[in-house]
């Protein structure tokens, strides 16, 4: 039962990752303001990263320290990049 749930979760995650990847390519068609565009693109990176960390790496089942460590990487790096681009 747990494995079926994990399987469904992995499939949903894959679909979300593909959808976000395609959306990120066409972002320039929808967002003219460069700052908003950069923030949107990097937010997508964070969401995609969270899916890989929590679902594919299964760190949502790991001790909180490790999960937060990897999640902080996927938040911090885009944040630093955003600051470099926007400030």
């Amino acid at each position: 039962m747990q494995n079926d749930k994990t399987l469904k979760h992995a499939i949903s995650s894959w679909l979300l990752l593909i959808a976000l990847t395609i959306i990120s390519i066409f972002l320039t068609n929808f967002i003219e303001n460069r700052s908003v565009y950069i923030i949107s693109a990097l937010l997508i990176v964070i969401v995609k990263g969270q899916q890989i960390v929590d679902v594919f790496m299964e760190l949502n089942k790991a001790p909180r320290f490790w999960r937060l460590l990897l999640l902080s990487y996927i938040v911090l790096i885009p944040l630093i990049i955003a600051i470099i681009y926007l400030v």
Partner: protein, 204 residues
């Protein structure tokens, strides 16, 4: 087991396992330290790239315009899908379906080969235009970062082959898949790095 033995084991064990909630770090600690080291190196590359871009805005804009965004998109989808099949393989191992897991690893490697093929095509496409690692700052960083990532993909494929071989020969027990999990985690790290790399170098 005596309480003093538990007290001695607990600090190290807590790093890997949280007995209160039965949460376990997948894989093994050595692999996670290796993953953290790799993530750190790439973080330096990513930040360095972003800083260089701000110092050479026009060169970077021209450079990005010369890249094949479609090939970057194909590579992103290929790596995400490859990662997905590795996750499915681990799920199969949890159900003691080792042969199925090996098949899923093979499918994952097919998608990895798509990534490698497209990446090589991309490099030769740029070479044909006379663009090399020495062309300008943008392409120096482009070739360095993407080639370094490609090396990790190649190493990841070796690791996937190793865990597939071990699974085929029933070397993993369903209650202790740490070796398989470690290999899978490394592959997901490779995917995670590309998730940041692709928009940074190709899109933004």
């Amino acid at each position: 087991m005596s309480s003093s033995a538990i007290a001695i084991d607990l600090p190290t064990e807590r790093i890997v396992n949280n007995k209160l909630t039965d949460k376990k770090l997948p894989g093994d600690l050595a692999m996670w330290f290796f993953i953290l080291a790799e993530l750190t190196v790439f973080a330096i590359f990513f930040i360095g790239f972003a800083v260089s871009e701000q110092l050479n805005i026009e060169i970077f804009a021209q450079g990005k315009a010369q890249l094949h965004q479609t090939s970057g998109l194909i590579n992103t989808i290929a790596l995400i899908t490859s990662s997905f099949f590795v996750a499915l393989a681990l799920s199969a191992m949890h159900k003691s379906q080792a042969k199925k897991a090996v098949f899923l690893i093979l499918v994952a490697k097919v998608f990895a080969l798509i990534y490698i093929s497209v990446k090589i095509w991309e490099y030769f496409s740029l070479f044909e235009q006379g663009i090399t690692i020495e062309t300008n700052t943008f392409f120096t960083l482009y070739f360095l970062i993407t080639a370094f990532h490609l090396m990790h993909v190649l190493l990841g494929m070796v690791i996937l082959s190793f865990i597939a071989h071990s699974a085929w020969h029933n070397k993993y027990q369903s209650k202790d898949l740490s070796g398989f999990e470690a290999g899978a985690s490394y592959w997901h790290m490779v995917d995670l790095l590309w998730i940041v790399l692709f928009p940074l170098i190709y899109v933004i």
